[in-house]
C-alpha cells in the first residue's frame, strides 16, 4: 500500500506542476504569445469542470445504487451542447457583446443593470454552491483516507487535510484568479490549468475502466455478461427521475456560475463553441463509458458494505495496482480542485462586483471625493471574497461533519442554481421580461427550493421538525415539504425540482406581464433579445463606430451630455474624422479613461471602458504595455498601430465617400422627378385657370377674382421654389453677403416660432425654457431666423408623435452658444443621418410639400455664419443643434 505521505508528495508535485503551467501560460499571454492558450481544444477541456469529484467518484457509486440513472447528469449537458444553436449561441454572443462577468452580471445587465437583482443572484449562488465546494473537500479527504488503510484511519486527520486542501486552492485562485483585473475577466493561467486537469481526470477514469474491462473481466463480452448478472443487471428506472434529472442537469449546466465562467466569460472565439458542441459531449460520453463496468466489478469484488463511491480507488487497490489507484486519485483530485477554483473565481467576481464594491463606493462617497486608484480595492475585495468563499466551504464541511448529508448535495445544489434559468432564458428570448418578474421568480423559486430541498436534506428533526415533515409548516397540510399542495408519492428530488421551477417560471411570467419595465430595461431587453441583429454590424469596420457610440452614451451618463460631446468632437477633429464620433484608438481610450476616472474613480472607469471596448486587440496591447519588456518593441508596435489606424481611417473615409456618392446619384434621379413635380404642379393650376379665364364666357366676378388669386398664389409658390434653389446655389458658391446686425437670440427665436406656426395647420407644442440667459448676438439675424423657421417647420411636418412637441433650449459652452431643438418623434435612422443635410435629401417621401432643400440651406447658412448645425445621435426623438461661434455672441448685459 502506498503510504499517505507518498500520496501527499505526489499531490504536491502535481500541484506544483499545475502552478508552473498556469504561471507560464500567464507569462506567454502577457507577452502576446498566448494564442495557443485559446484553442478550441482548451475551451472544450475547460468546460469539463462540469465533471466534479461528485461525478468522478460519485457516478460509480450512483450506478452501483441505481443503475443507469447516473447517466442523466451527463445527458442534459450533452443535449444542451448538441443544441447549442438554440440557447448557448445566443448566451455566448450576449455575454461577449455585453461583457458579462458572471451570471449575476448578465441577469442584472439584462434587467436594467439592477444591482439589487445582482445581489440576490449572488447570495443565491453562494448559498447554492458553497455546500458543493464542501463536497469537493470531502471527496479529496475521503479518497486520501482510503490509502491510509482501515487500520490507519485515525492517522489522518480529515479536517486538517481538508483545511490544507482548501488553503492550497485559495492560494492558487488568489494568485491566478486576481492577477489582472482589467482584461475582460479572463484568466489564461487558470484556464490552462483546468484544461490539463481535465485531461488527467479523463485519462484516469479511462485507465481504471480499461483495467476493469480487460484486466479483470477479461474483455467486452464477459463484461456484458457480468453486467447482466450483477445486482444492477436489470433496467430499473424511476421514469420521473429519468426525465427530471436530465432536465435539471441541462438547466444547471446553463445556469451554474462556474459553467458561465468557462463557457461565456473565458470564451475567446464564438467558433470554439461550435467545436465544443460535439467535442464536449464526446468528453462526457468518454467520462461515463466505464462507469457501469467499474460499478459492477466493484459490487462483485469488494466486500459488502464498502463505499461504492470509492470503487474507482478501491478496485485497483484491491488488485494491488497502486500506480493505477494513484492516477485515479489524481483524477479525483483534479476534478475537485478545478471545480473549486473556477466556482470560487466565479463567485468571488460576483461578490466583489455586486456586493463589496457598491458598498465600498457608497461608503466612500459620503466622505471625500473618490480619488486615487480604486483598482487595488477591487483586487483586494476579490481576494477577500475568494478566501471567504473557500472558507465558507470548509466551515460547511466541518460542521456538517463530512457525513452522508453531503452526498445528496450535488443534485440539491443543481436545483438551487437552476432557479436562475427562467430569468436568464426569459431575459434573452423575451423582451417583455421585467426586473420585478425576474426578482419575484427568483425569490419564489429559491424559497421553494430551500424549503423542499435544502432544509429537508439535513433529515427530519435537524432543521425542519418531524412535525413539519408530517403535517406541514404551522400544521398546514398542503405545506408539507415533501408533498406540496397535498400531492404525495412524488420522488423528493423530482418534487422539489418540479415545484420550484414551475412556480419560479409562473411567477416570473405573471409578474413580468403585469409590471412595466423602465427605459433602460427596455433598451437592454431589446439589445439582448436582438443581439444577432445588433452584433452583425459590430464586426468589421463598423465595429469601431458602434463602440464609439457606446462610449459616447456611457460618457454622457457620467460627464453629462455637453461635456461628453465636446470631448468627442475635439477628438474627432484631432483625428481628422468627419462627423461626431472619433475612432476608438488606444490614445483616445486612455484619455477618456482618465476623464472618467476623475468622476468615478479609476477602477470603475477602467472596468467601464474595458467592458465596452473589450476585444483582443486592446487587451493584448495592455498586456504588452504591462510587460514593458523593452521600449523598442513598444515603440515599434506603436508605430505599426498608428499606421494601421491611419489605413483604417483612410479606408473608412473612402468607403464613406463612395457610399455617399452612390446614394447621391440615386437621389439625384429622384430629385429630377421631384423638381419636375414641384415645378409642374403649380404650373398646371396656372395654365388651367388662365385658360378658364380666357375661354369661359359670362364668368361671375367672384369666380374671376378667386381664379386669379389661385394663379397668383401658385405663381408665388413657383417663385419660392426657384428662390430656394437660387439661395442654395448662391450660398454654396460663397457669393452671399451677410447683413450683420445685433439683437437678442430670444427675440429671433420668438419671431421664428411665430412665423413658423402661423403658416401651419398641424399642431406642434413648442416649449422654451424660461430661465435661459439672454444672449446678445452680432450676426445675420434674418439668415439665423431662416434656419430656425426651417427647423421648427420640419418638426411640424415630420414629427410623428401623438402629441408632437418641440423643446428649444439655449446653452452656453466655453466656445459657442448652442440652440438645441429636441422633438419627440421617431429618430431618423442612423444610415439616413449622414445624408439629411445633403441637397435633395428627403427622409419622408410621402409628403410632397418640400423639395428637400431646407436643411441643406440651413447648413450652408450656418457655415457662412461661422457656426454649424448637427443632428446629435440620441436614443429617442431628434436633436438638432445649431451652434454659433463665441464671436457672434456678445457678452450678456
Amino acid at each position: 500500500m502506498a503510504s499517505v505521505n507518498q500520496l501527499i508528495a505526489v499531490s504536491l508535485g502535481y500541484v506544483a506542476f499545475l502552478f508552473a503551467i498556469a504561471f507560464f501560460a500567464e507569462r506567454a499571454a502577457a507577452r502576446g504569445r498566448g494564442g495557443w492558450l485559446r484553442s478550441p481544444l482548451v475551451y472544450t477541456l475547460s468546460l469539463s469542470i462540469y465533471c466534479t469529484a461528485w461525478t468522478f467518484y460519485g457516478a460509480v457509486g450512483y450506478a452501483a445504487r441505481s443503475g443507469m440513472e447516473f447517466v442523466t447528469i451527463y445527458l442534459g449537458p450533452s443535449l444542451v451542447m448538441i443544441g447549442w444553436w438554440w440557447a448557448l449561441r445566443k448566451l455566448v454572443r450576449i455575454g461577449r457583446v455585453h461583457r458579462a462577468t458572471s451570471v449575476a452580471d448578465l441577469i442584472s445587465a439584462r434587467y436594467g443593470k439592477s444591482n439589487l437583482l445582482a445581489i440576490v443572484v449572488t447570495v443565491m449562488a453562494v448559498i447554492g454552491v458553497t455546500p458543493y465546494i464542501a463536497l469537493q473537500l470531502q471527496s479529496v479527504t475521503l479518497s486520501l483516507s482510503i490509502f491510509s488503510g482501515p487500520e490507519g484511519a485515525g492517522s489522518l486527520n480529515q479536517f486538517r487535510a481538508a483545511f490544507w486542501v482548501a488553503f492550497g486552492l485559495a492560494i492558487f485562485t488568489v494568485l491566478f484568479g486576481t492577477r489582472n483585473l482589467n482584461a475582460n475577466e479572463r484568466h489564461d493561467g487558470v484556464v490552462i490549468a483546468i484544461a490539463v486537469e481535465a485531461v488527467v481526470k479523463l485519462v484516469a477514469l479511462l485507465a481504471v475502466g480499461v483495467f476493469v474491462v480487460w484486466g479483470i473481466a477479461g474483455g467486452l463480452g464477459p463484461m456484458m455478461d457480468r453486467i447482466d448478472t450483477s445486482p444492477i443487471g436489470q433496467w430499473n428506472m424511476d421514469r420521473s427521475r429519468w426525465v427530471a434529472l436530465t432536465a435539471l442537469s441541462a438547466a444547471a449546466f446553463l445556469a451554474l456560475p462556474r459553467m458561465f465562467q468557462v463557457m461565456v466569460v473565458e470564451n475567446e472565439d464564438e467558433r470554439h463553441l461550435q467545436i465544443a458542441s460535439w467535442a464536449f459531449p464526446l468528453y462526457l460520453m468518454l467520462m461515463s463509458l466505464f462507469v457501469v463496468p467499474i460499478a459492477v466489478i466493484g459490487l462483485d469484488l469488494m466486500p459488502a458494505g464498502s463505499n461504492p463511491d470509492l470503487f474507482v480507488l478501491t478496485v485497483p487497490l484491491s488488485e494491488g495496482r497502486v500506480g493505477l489507484a494513484t492516477l485515479s486519485f489524481l483524477g479525483g483530485f483534479s476534478s475537485a480542485t478545478s471545480m473549486v477554483i473556477v466556482a470560487t473565481l466565479a463567485l468571488s467576481t460576483m461578490m466583489s462586483n455586486h456586493v463589496v464594491m457598491p458598498v465600498w463606493l457608497s461608503a466612500r462617497a459620503e466622505g471625500a471625493q473618490v480619488s486615487g486608484d480604486v483598482r487595488d480595492v477591487v483586487i483586494l475585495a476579490r481576494r477577500a471574497s475568494i478566501l471567504m468563499i473557500i472558507g465558507l466551504g470548509y466551515l460547511y464541511y466541518r460542521f456538517s461533519g463530512g457525513g452522508a448529508a453531503l452526498a445528496a448535495i450535488g443534485l440539491i445544489s443543481f436545483a438551487g442554481v437552476a432557479q436562475f434559468l427562467p430569468a436568464m432564458l426569459g431575459g434573452i428570448f423575451w423582451r417583455g421580461a421585467t426586473r420585478w418578474g425576474a426578482l419575484a421568480g427568483l425569490v419564489v423559486g429559491f424559497t421553494v427550493w430551500v424549503y423542499c430541498s435544502l432544509l429537508p436534506s439535513f433529515g427530519p428533526g435537524a432543521v425542519l421538525s418531524v412535525a413539519t415533515f408530517d403535517n406541514g409548516l404551522w400544521g398546514i397540510g398542503w405545506l408539507r415539504p415533501l408533498a406540496l399542495f397535498g400531492i404525495e408519492g412524488i420522488d423528493p428530488t423530482v418534487h422539489a425540482v418540479a415545484w420550484s421551477l414551475t412556480l419560479n417560471t409562473a411567477v416570473f411570467l405573471i409578474v413580468s406581464l403585469v409590471t412595466f419595465p423602465e427605459p433602460l430595461e427596455r433598451l437592454q431587453g431589446a439589445q439582448f433579445v436582438n443581439v444577432f441583429d445588433h452584433s452583425t454590424q459590430a464586426r468589421g469596420w463598423d465595429a469601431a463606430l458602434a463602440t464609439s457610440e457606446d462610449l459616447m452614451i456611457m460618457t454622457q451618463r457620467i460627464l453629462g451630455a455637453e461635456e461628453a460631446q465636446i470631448l468627442f468632437r475635439a477628438e474627432a477633429r484631432r483625428q481628422g474624422v468627419h462627423g461626431q464620433l472619433p475612432e476608438p484608438t488606444q490614445a483616445f481610450l486612455q484619455h477618456l479613461e482618465r476623464e472618467l476616472a476623475a468622476s468615478v474613480g479609476a477602477a470603475t472607469a477602467h472596468a467601464m471602458i474595458s467592458q465596452l471596448v473589450g476585444g483582443a486587440s486592446v487587451s493584448v496591447q495592455e498586456l504588452m504595455a504591462v510587460a514593458d519588456e523593452s521600449a523598442q518593441i513598444l515603440e515599434y508596435s506603436n508605430r505599426l498601430e498608428a499606421k494601421s489606424d491611419e489605413l483604417t481611417r483612410t479606408a473608412r473615409q473612402l468607403r464613406e465617400a463612395n457610399q455617399k456618392l452612390t446614394a447621391l446619384s440615386v437621389q439625384k434621379d429622384a430629385f429630377l422627378s421631384q423638381i419636375s413635380h414641384e415645378l409642374r404642379t403649380p404650373m398646371t393650376s396656372i395654365r388651367s385657370f388662365s385658360e378658364i379665364l380666357r375661354d369661359t364666357e359670362g364668368l361671375g366676378e367672384v369666380e374671376q377674382t378667386k381664379y386669379a388669386s389661385i394663379i397668383h398664389g401658385e405663381a408665388i409658390r413657383l417663385t419660392r421654389l426657384l428662390d430656394d434653389l437660387l439661395d442654395l446655389s448662391v450660398l454654396e458658391n460663397g457669393q452671399v453677403s451677410l447683413n450683420l446686425d445685433t439683437g437678442q437670440l430670444g427675440d429671433v427665436l420668438a419671431q421664428s416660432i411665430l412665423t413658423a406656426q402661423a403658416g401651419s395647420a398641424r399642431h406642434l407644442e413648442v416649449v422654451r425654457h424660461p430661465g435661459e440667459d439672454p444672449v446678445r448676438l452680432m450676426t445675420d439675424l434674418d439668415r439665423l431666423n431662416q434656419v430656425f423657421i426651417n427647423l421648427i417647420t420640419n418638426a411640424q411636418k415630420y414629427c410623428d408623435a401623438a402629441e408632437p412637441r418641440l423643446e428649444i433650449d439655449v446653452r452656453r459652452t466655453d466656445t459657442a452658444v448652442e440652440v438645441v431643438f429636441r422633438d419627440n418623434g421617431t429618430p431618423i435612422a442612423p444610415e439616413a443621418r449622414a445624408l439629411i443635410f445633403e441637397k435633395f435629401a428627403r427622409i419622408n417621401d410621402q409628403d410632397g410639400s418640400g423639395a428637400g432643400l431646407g436643411l441643406a440651406i440651413c447648413r450652408e447658412i450656418m457655415t457662412r455664419l461661422g457656426g454649424d448645425i448637427t443632428l446629435d445621435p440620441t436614443l429617442k426623438g431628434n436633436v438638432f443643434v445649431v451652434r454659433l461661434p463665441q464671436l457672434a455672441a456678445l457678452a450678456a448685459q
Binding site: 422627378s673 419636375s676 413635380h677 409642374r680 404642379t681 388651367s688 385658360e691 389661385i710
Partner: protein, 124 residues
C-alpha cells in the same frame, strides 16, 4: 349627361380646376385625395370614369391602378392618369398597368375634356 366621375388628386387647386371643367359639362364630380384609401372609394362609388394622379400621399396612382385592374369588375373602367413627374418611364409603367389615357401636367383644358369625352364614348 349626368355622368359620374371620381377625381383622385391631392392638389386642391388642380381639383378645383378639373371640377369646374367637368361639372360645366354636366358631370357629377366626386373627389378623393388620399392614396391609401382611394382604391376602396373607387370600388365603393363605381364611377363611370376615374381621373387619377400619379403621385399621391399614402399610395401611388400606379399602385392603385394595378390593384384596380386586378379586379375583373374594374378592368374596363376608363382611367385617365395625370402626372407631373414628366418621365417617359412613368408612361410606360402606367400603360403596362392598364391605363386608358396618360397625360402630363400641365395640360390644356381642351385636351382633358376631349380625352374625357373619348373615353366615355369608347366605354359605351
Amino acid at each position: 349627361m349626368g355622368k359620374h366621375v371620381l377625381l383622385v388628386e391631392d392638389e386642391l387647386n388642380i381639383i378645383e380646376a378639373i371640377r369646374f371643367l367637368l361639372s360645366r359639362e354636366g358631370w357629377q364630380v366626386d373627389t378623393h385625395s388620399d392614396g391609401a384609401t382611394a382604391l376602396a372609394t373607387i370600388k365603393d362609388m363605381r364611377p363611370d370614369l376615374v381621373v387619377l394622379d400619379y403621385m399621391l400621399p399614402g399610395k401611388s396612382g400606379l399602385d392603385i391602378l394595378t390593384e384596380l385592374r386586378a379586379d375583373p369588375a374594374f378592368q374596363a373602367l376608363p382611367v385617365l392618369m395625370l402626372t407631373a413627374r414628366g418621365q417617359s418611364r412613368d408612361r410606360e409603367m402606367a400603360e403596362r398597368a392598364g391605363v386608358s389615357r396618360f397625360m402630363t401636367k400641365p395640360f390644356s383644358n381642351t385636351e382633358v375634356m376631349t380625352a374625357v369625352r373619348d373615353l366615355v364614348q369608347l366605354a359605351q
